[in-house]
Amino acid sequence: MGETESAAPEAARQELSADVVCVGFGPAMGGFLTTLARGVVNPDGSTAVESRVAPGLPLQVICYERADDVGFGVSGVVTRARALRESFPELEAAQIPLAAPIAEERVLYLLDPIGASRRSATLRGADRLLRAARFALPVADEALELPWTPEFLHKRGGMVLSLGQLNQWVAGQVLQTGAVQIWPGTPVSQALVEGHAVTGVRLVDQGVNRDGTPAEGYLPGMDVKAALTVVGDGPVGPVGRQLDEVFGMPEGHHVREWAVGCKMVVDLAPDRPAKPGTVLHTFGFPEPEIFGFLYVHPGNVASVGIFVPSWFDCPARTSYRYLQHYVQHPALQRYLAGATLRSWGAKSIQESGRRGEPRLAGDGWARIGEGSGSTNVLTGSGVDEAWATGVQLAQGVLELCRSGKPFSRENLEAAYVARRRGSWVEAEGRVAERARDGFGQGVATGLLGMALSGLTGGKVSLGPEPVPPHERIQGVEGWYEGRIPAAEVAALRAECARSGRPLHDALMDRAGWPPIACDGKLLVSHQDALLLGGKVQAPPGYADHVVFLRPELCKACGARTCVAICSGQAITDVPDGVPAFDREKCVHCGACLWNCSQPLEDGSEQGNVAFLAGAGGLHSAEN
């Protein structure tokens, strides 16, 4: 980064006060604000809970969302919608665009029709058996439909949703009450910590250079003081991670399991109508570790995507290209032949679940949603759980307000944490806690471990304690040992350094993956996908939010997993140097955070990538 002249006059930091300040608007905050808004104002519009900072007015509640729209969200969702329905007892799927009641759920094991995926001897044997017995078993289009699936995988009575549309709908409901403010396009840089307490938040500085130094139009981020700070900024949110750092994780808890979900929203071909509410879960292809899904929305629209997990050890893990191979699988082509890409997105998922639960409350603060460890990795469910935690906190907050008690750690633990501990979110989260440990030893063990955990109520699980992600990432040479000779890897490295071609693409080609034949419809270049219904905005005047902390670690790194995994091709390789980051292309999926092979060795489990608060990203309400 070049030296920059500061053109900024001294600008004063503004400050304002509220009663409750919230960070992030997702499903958890939707549940929190929906419940809180109903409690602070009476049905006749009069004040039910009075503000302490603006006496005479109702409780002053402000929510800041990083993205430029409240409808930003990246998930095709299939959910039982238990908590959502409790909040909206009259809810019909038809009220929310793209929502549909679940019509059918199926689980497919996908064979590899290409022969490029890396399968263990066990899986290869199983594949041979399936192919041999394809006339006796439900095998078609290179896929086995599981004749039975355990109950915990089912979402009967639930619905298919688009998270973007759900967020947009919920925001509309909340804003209509007039009791809550939601400000999008406003990233929060940090919580204001004073001693053992959080006293509010600081918004990001504007009018700064890429390195954060003041520039023309410098406007220091405002301090918003509040008696209660509610943090629901998701799995890679900078405020939640700051709280982990400041207050520490509970004994034995850690966030080591991740996945990046990468998905498309597509218009299905008119001659291939699919029933809204059709749900397809898949595993086995493009790699055994990569699970996938297809959910059909109303209007012949579908969400289709894959999850690339942290325990997929390959350093050449470009989720977008894997997704392109996935949608070409014959079992998916049943639905997707002739389909057209509408939009595209990616998001990190915290898959440690309850084992990654941080401290849930302290003096002046509480955490809700995925960043608080509410995601259930056994049932593959997170949105409804997140919503429930938001509702539980709001109920607790209203209780404390009505009884005039302060938002101290003890009071929040009694009013919120105890509620959560006594709920289905906790009970099911405990069952799921060790359900995925088996994947540390391979896919077959992982699947068996999941089944055992689910069927024994969490009493039995397989596999060791997960290790930090950087310990799992192998070097390129190590991963391809026995498949691509080291000399050839070195030649590919040199060729890619010369041509600027991504090494992970070259390695996938060499490993036998066919080139993607872009058709301008479903298969488009990665850069085109960014623009197709997934507009990337990076307003000027903000600092880079992806920062490589210690250049020498990047220079010594041969894996470059951050480059391979980057969902927006925003991180590009600089041979023997620090990767380049382009804020314009970043979709804020946060995968770089947990895809760094270089630990900081500072006692934390953090890699060399800092993921800070930033503006911009995708702008698509249908994700």
Binding site: Q14, L16, D68, D69, V70, G71, P97, L98, Q165, Q168, A171, G172, L175, Q176, G178, Q181, I182, W183, P184, G185, T186, L203, Q206, G207, G217, L219, M222, V224, G299, R342, S343, C518, G520, L531, L532, G533, K535, P539, G541, H619, S620, A621, E622
Partner: protein
């Protein structure tokens, strides 16, 4: 000089970077999945609003209103962003803004909303808006609003406005040949349809947001439905502009060769 009373007509439009596909609805043409498309502030109207705020800040005692005709839910969302940029008072009218309304009807609804603004001194009124907004590029809507408010002075394609000491207005309008026409008029009332102006989009200022918030939500709650728009006009057909994109994948072509090819294509 007395403060200015600036009314900006501006609403939301579907994000132009999304796929906008006209289709036939029960009441005439609509955009496919219109309710799902993210909305943004109409860029033309945005320029007018930033200019209005800049002008109001320079002339003490001035006030800015934003009169927005659009679907209430979309207005609500977009105002959460726009509300952080500059101070204004929102006047919301609930109605369609998908691009298929008729200029006359839109102008009638907007003019009624302006007339109903309490305390507005129409002799000091500067009516701002996007030059080509709400008219499918025809530039007619703002002129019709001005006519209904009986304001004779109309400037379109405005890129700059200066208020002189005596209250007269110096206006730069775009004309052919990439040049500007400079006009001077005695002062308010006047209608100015803005082109792009010269102001960048202001930064998000949460202080401004808090001030605006006091008015935005009540204004949205009070938003009156516009009279049914679209009556009397039928659209025979709606088609997308011809796709101009031609993609070829060519490898190892020198930059000079690519440049030559581009120049040849432009010249053809």
């Amino acid at each position: 000089m007395n403060g200015l009373q600036i009314v900006v007509c501006g609403s939301v439009v579907p994000d132009p970077l999304q796929t906008l596909e006209p289709t036939a609805g029960p009441a005439g043409p609509v955009l496919k999945n219109e309710a799902m498309l993210p909305a943004v502030l109409d860029p033309w109207a945005g320029h007018a609003l930033w200019e209005a705020a800049h002008l109001a800040a320079a002339v003490p005692g001035s006030k800015v209103w934003l009169v927005a005709l659009g679907p209430k839910a979309k207005l609500q969302q977009v105002m959460m962003v726009v509300g952080q940029k500059v101070p204004f008072e929102l006047v919301a009218v609930d109605g369609p803004a998908g691009g298929f309304t008729d200029s006359h009807e839109t102008a009638a609804a907007l003019a009624e909303a302006v007339k109903a603004i309490p305390g507005l001194d129409r002799s000091r009124l500067l009516l701002f808006g996007g030059w080509e907004s709400a008219a499918r590029g025809a530039g007619t809507t703002l002129a019709l609003v001005g006519a209904r408010l009986e304001i004779p002075d109309l400037f379109l394609g405005v890129d700059a406005l200066a208020v002189r000491e005596d209250g007269s207005l110096e206006v730069l309008e775009r004309i052919e040949g990439g040049r500007h026409q400079v006009s001077v008029c005695a002062g308010a009332p006047a209608v100015l349809g803005w082109a792009t102006g010269n102001r960048p989009e202001p930064r998000n200022n949460p202080q401004v947001g808090m001030l605006n918030m006091r008015g935005i939500l009540p204004a949205l709650q009070k938003a009156r439905p516009a009279p049914a728009l679209g009556g009397g006009v039928t659209f025979e057909a709606v088609s997308l502009p011809k796709q101009q994109r031609e993609t070829r994948v060519v490898k190892d072509l020198p930059a000079a060769e690519i440049a030559r090819e581009l120049v040849a294509w432009i010249e053809s």
